[in-house]
Amino acid sequence: MLDKAIKGSQAYWGWLIALVVLMGIGFACYLYQWFEGLRITGMSRDVSWGFYIGQLTYFVGVAASGVMVVLPYYLHDYKAFGRITIMGEFLAVAAIVMCGLFVMVDLGYLPRMLNIMLYPNPKSILFWDMIVLNVYMLLNIIIGWNVLSAERKGVPYQKWIKVLIYISIPWAFSIHTVTAFLYAGLPGRHYWLTAIMAARFLSSAFCSGPALLILLCLIVKKFTKFDPGKEQIRTLGGIVAYAMIINVFFFFLELFTAFYSQIPGHMHPIQYLFVGLEGHNRLAPWMWTAAFFALVALILLIVPATRRRPDVLAVACVAVIISTWIDKGFGLVPGGFIPNPFERVTEYWPTVPEIFISVGIWATGFFILTVLYKVAVSVKEEVAA
């Protein structure tokens, strides 16, 4: 089926070439990091994880959200989603590849990466995170590819695929839960040390992922002959609405615990993020931007009249993505490290090479996504014709 990927319009090729250019720039910056070390990033002894790990966290969420189309279709027999499950699955594949790349660029000593397998430590959450992510990626590749091949041939897919699909549903929850556990079990990091972390991660994933999927559906509809369907987009809009409400609610739970208890350690990171601490407030404008877009998204999503209009829904989805991305991909990591264990503030800001490396990885993700979607959409067009 891969042949479908090499027959495309000029726009398709132009887009892919643009992505390859960005990947090249990112790779060049990575070579610079390879020779100079992670000193070229904005990270420090006090903020030892930064943009890369934030992106890993965000995209694990996007990957997990694929389950939001798989689950209604297979568990609740919601037929309409049959048209777009493949899009959810392929989005998950692209997102996980990005996660893997973000981990790799973050490692100080990449050539030793296999030490995780050679000397595994089952007590380490990172060890489990690696396992669940890789298995999830495999599951999605196998399922997506086989279901699509069957569709192309006009035959039902094999039984064992169904088993894998059922496994993939709880597995999707597990990848984001385990990623939350990377943070949630560390002593002395108050912003992360919260039992609701996994729940927060899932709620933010289940609004940001489907929001991205809606945008992708609208793009596919515009540029190809395949229509993901009105009802499908409308249902996804409902999912985004509920998940976003829960996401914001969970955030207020965190605020209550911190500020009603008045325990300084719990209040400090949130104060740092939103109003600044000891005169350091680099992230505050960003966090307020996130809050603003969350509000916009909520209004547009909750009012049925706006949610049901595809163009307004698209705006709401963009707002959801901006808001959740700042919260999870940007604020979450520094929030855990600031203030440091000595109640001192060292700020963090990504450097230009750090951003370009990240852009290169996003471009890689979109490249994979584009090719996979091209294949999927071509098959759908062919079957329809």
Binding site: G37, L38, R45, L107, G108, N115, G188, P341, F342
Partner: protein
Amino acid sequence: MGMDRRQFLKVMGLSTALGLGGKAAWDFFAPGQAEAALKEAPLTEGKKWGMVVDMSKMTDQVLDECIAACHREHNVPDLGNSKEEVKWIWKETYEHTFPEQEHEYSVEKYRHKNFLLICNHCTNPPCCRVCPTKATWKREDGIVMMDQHRCIGCRFCMAACPFGARSFNWGDPRKAPKELNPDFPTNPQYPTRSKGVVEKCTFCAERLAKGKLPACVEAANRMGPNILTFGDLDDPESEVRKLLRSHYTIRRKPELGTGPNVYYIV
């Protein structure tokens, strides 16, 4: 040596715990006197190493000597930049060492006074729990070890340590600025590191194996008795236990349950 560095460390650790390392060494250098010598050099056979810092005797001068001695011993360069800083031992004011215990009326003599900070060699160390490669692990004698040749540089341990005791080589330590480190590497006996790995205080495991005190303790001893006391917390007759019996001591963040083994007499 036919074994790699890690095997070497392991054997040292095990034999130290069993008291063999020292004994064997003594047997080799002074046959027949091993038993007698061991009594005078019990440093190789602790079961739970710990340290007591007497803050009433501590001065900035002592702190600086200790820091210099450790960093010279272990080739820790001065990078002249707090963002990339590598430190095994350092100083911090009372307010920042014990932020949760500071109050308006805290004993005046300790306000703004500098405390000595190192890895606490916790009894229940989160840094070891999270390390995906076991590059950081706890030895039977209580020392939390770090193998810079296995570490993949994920920095999970830095996020997990609530005491800020770990450093990462953001750049290549061998390229440390010459003006600040004219004689780097300061100790050719100790391995230098590459960029991209974590490092930290190891209670001078390599010195203990030879029956020597940690470098900081030795430096402090030159400045006055019992400012830093190192010993076996499992042995009721050890110097550290005697000090703990006769003085009021505090530890950093005991509420987190990591069980720090560095005690401060205040």
